[in-house]
């Protein structure tokens, strides 16, 4: 059983995050809220997302799984007015999700979840932790986009750096400790990442004012931020690029 009311803005945050990596996703629903895990088709990145019961205006659910097509939600959300609240309910007999905005109802056919297994989450040990303003990160990304297709994320004991090397130009965003919200780093760490992936992930952050990056050397980055004003969170994991010659 699943019946809920949720603000369009909150649902939009979820859909933006998930749509960054996949077009279809399996939602795990219970009375505690909603959670999901997904890996992108190239298996370069994954996302874990949790939306607590408090993020909903109302939630009545027993544990169930629903497979949804992200595009259909995008279409519905485009029709939502500012401040709209969506009603969602699972029609188990017909296996459809009934979505209502104002006086508009869409009965969505669902994706078969049989072939959608929950991806395994690697247990990576990331020694450095940086909490940086979303705004700063976005600026660094935009500057890098015209220069290169990959970036380096570097953390030292007293600063964080995002840098891009092009054939002729280079870009570097350096944030000393006092401009960061948090910095925990003993030894210098540095990893390279695809700018495409990293940029899309950071662009999906939405309203969260800051983002936590967990880093290692030649190791994945975990990007964490809050959803729905703290009533949920996102954890992205992005595999690095390793230059081998």
């Amino acid at each position: 059983m699943f019946k809920a009311r949720i603000k369009a803005d909150v649902l939009r945050e979820v859909i933006t995050v998930v749509g960054t990596l996949v077009e279809e996703v399996k939602l795990n629903i219970s009375s505690d809220g909603l959670s999901l895990r997904a890996v992108d088709p190239a298996h370069v990145a994954m996302v874990e997302l949790v939306l607590k019961a408090g993020a909903f205006e109302e939630l009545k659910a027993t544990a169930c799984e629903i497979g949804v097509d992200i595009d259909k939600f995008r279409e519905m959300l485009k029709l939502a007015r500012a401040g709209s609240v969506l009603r969602l309910s699972h029609d188990e007999d017909k296996n459809k999700l009934v979505v209502t905005i104002d006086n508009l109802t869409r009965r969505m056919s669902l994706v078969d979840t049989a072939g959608m297994s929950d991806p395994k989450v690697p247990n990576v040990n990331l020694p450095a932790k940086v909490r940086v303003k979303t705004e700063e990160l976005n600026q660094g990304i935009r500057a890098s986009e015209s220069i290169s297709d990959h970036i380096a994320l570097i953390a030292t004991a007293d600063m964080f750096e995002l840098s891009a090397e092009g054939e002729t130009d280079s870009v570097s965003l350096k944030l000393p400790k006092d401009l960061l919200e948090a910095l925990e780093c003993k030894d210098t760490v540095k990893s390279l990442f695809s700018l495409d992936y990293f940029s899309n992930m950071v662009k999906s952050v939405g309203n969260a004012p800051s983002v936590t990056l967990n880093l290692g050397t030649d190791y994945p980055v975990r990007i964490e931020f809050d959803l729905a004003g703290g009533e949920g969170y996102v954890k992205y994991l992005l595999a690095p690029r390793i230059e081998n010659d």
Partner: protein, 428 residues
């Protein structure tokens, strides 16, 4: 190195050579090949009218768009001329043969606004009807002047012969291809659906493209003439995209595969990899090939896309879309998804461009043949190294997809190692 003997520009060299010493380094003299073919056409059409069986063929120019020249391609011979404008039948023929029959096609030109598909008058109606024909059509054209002998070469469009403005055009009875007729009369069917339906019905791409170029498909009010050059890529892209979305839902292949094709002194190596969909076409032009006529260095160029496709037009042109279509066709036949990198070496025997069909049919041909299987990328690249002249290092430096595969780690790389550890990939 011959500078001491004949200093100066290439023109000088040709004067001394006169096509006998091959000083320019090509296998055969391009000027001679052109001239030879042209002579033949000129004697056949040295007059103000022409009568023959159109394959059927039509051509829509792009210069002056949206005011363009449309018109039939008519050879001065009657009979079964279908092959002359059906690139699907050309693979395995020599460059001379292709040039020979293409040069016989005389292009009649009639100026028209691209939107005047319905109201363009009798000549326009006849040209459009010819584009829908199922078999060669008897055509008689009168020109305002004698067709000027010139072989028109283009990287995208197959070559054709002399052209002249039309004075009048008469066409015998035309048997319209009933498969094409259906979307033609359906003015509520979008061009995209029409193209996809016809492809699904097994209609030759060259046929679909021809009808597309005369504005035979689409919503009534949107119909217009589309320059031949653009229509080729439009059809390749439309179908390729559709097939690609199907491919993206299929399970991955479980090995590295290499296919090969070699015609008109073009070597194509196709590498399929057990990854999600991604695609790249890398071309290497030797000095003295069509597009690198005077260079001393090999020129390399590539275009690629990752899983999400691309938004801008491919740098290397229409051949990108032609080869992508051929690749998706094959993957659907296999019912497998894969990443694909195509390496093309254009050698010195490729003296003139013959059109995008060369790439499409070559890649299709490669997939028809046997393939070799390899467990790792390193092993596959090692084999490719023995099949191509250009050093692997250069290919790797140019190819974005190969660079990505070799550097980008995946989530699985950080999962606890299972007992049957997966084989190490990548090359040193």
């Amino acid at each position: 190195m011959r500078e001491g003997l004949f200093s100066g520009d290439t023109g000088n060299r040709c004067v001394v050579c006169k096509g006998s010493k091959m000083l320019c380094g090509k296998d055969r003299c391009p000027i001679l090949v052109k001239h030879f073919a042209q002579l033949r056409a000129r004697t056949l059409v040295d007059r103000l009218d022409i009568e023959g069986s159109s394959p059927p063929g039509v051509f829509v120019g792009q210069y002056g768009y949206p005011k363009v020249f449309v018109g039939p391609l008519i050879p001065p011979v009657t009979g079964d001329t279908e092959v002359m404008d059906t690139p699907e039948m050309w693979l395995g023929r020599s460059i001379d043969e292709i040039v020979d029959f293409r040069t016989q096609l005389v292009r009649g030109m009639h100026a028209v606004d691209v939107f005047d598909v319905e109201t363009g008058g009798r000549t326009v109606d006849l040209v459009r009807e010819m584009a829908l024909a199922a078999s060669p059509a008897e055509a008689e054209a009168e020109f305002q002047r004698k067709p000027r002998g010139r072989l028109v070469l283009d990287d995208e469009v197959q070559p054709f012969g002399p052209s002249a403005p039309l004075k009048s055009l008469d066409v015998g009875s035309i048997k319209v291809d009933h498969r094409i007729e259906k979307p033609f009369y359906d003015t509520d069917l979008r061009a995209r659906e029409a193209v996809l339906d016809l492809y699904g019905d097994g209609v030759f791409l060259s046929r679909i493209q021809k009808a597309f170029s005369v504005g035979a498909f689409g919503l009534g009010r949107n119909r217009r003439f589309v320059p031949t050059r653009w229509s080729i890529t439009a059809v390749d892209d439309t179908i390729g995209k559709q097939l690609r979305e199907k491919v993206k839902r299929l399970p991955l292949i479980d090995e590295y595969r290499i296919y090969e094709s070699w015609t008109l002194d073009n070597r194509f190596i196709v590498l399929l990899m057990p990854t999600s969909w991604r695609y790249e076409l890398v071309e290497a032009w030797y000095p003295n090939t069509v597009w690198n006529p005077d260079g001393t260095d090999i020129m390399m160029i590539s275009s690629h896309e990752f899983y999400g496709g691309r938004k801008d037009y491919a740098e290397i042109g229409g051949c990108y879309y032609a080869a992508r279509l051929a690749t998706c066709e094959h993957l659907l036949r296999l019912q497998r998804q894969a990443g694909c990198v195509i390496l093309r070496e254009a050698h010195s025997g490729y003296i003139m461009p013959v059109g995008v069909w060369n790439v499409r049919e070559n890649v299709r041909n490669a997939y028809k043949g046997p393939h070799l299987s390899f467990p790792t990328l390193a092993a596959a690249l090692e084999h490719i190294r023995t099949r191509l002249d250009i050093r692997m290092k250069k290919w790797l430096r140019t190819s974005r997809i190969l660079a990505d595969i070799r550097t980008q780690r995946t989530i699985e790389d950080y999962l606890p190692v299972e007992p049957q550890a997966k084989e190490a990939e990548g090359v040193g």
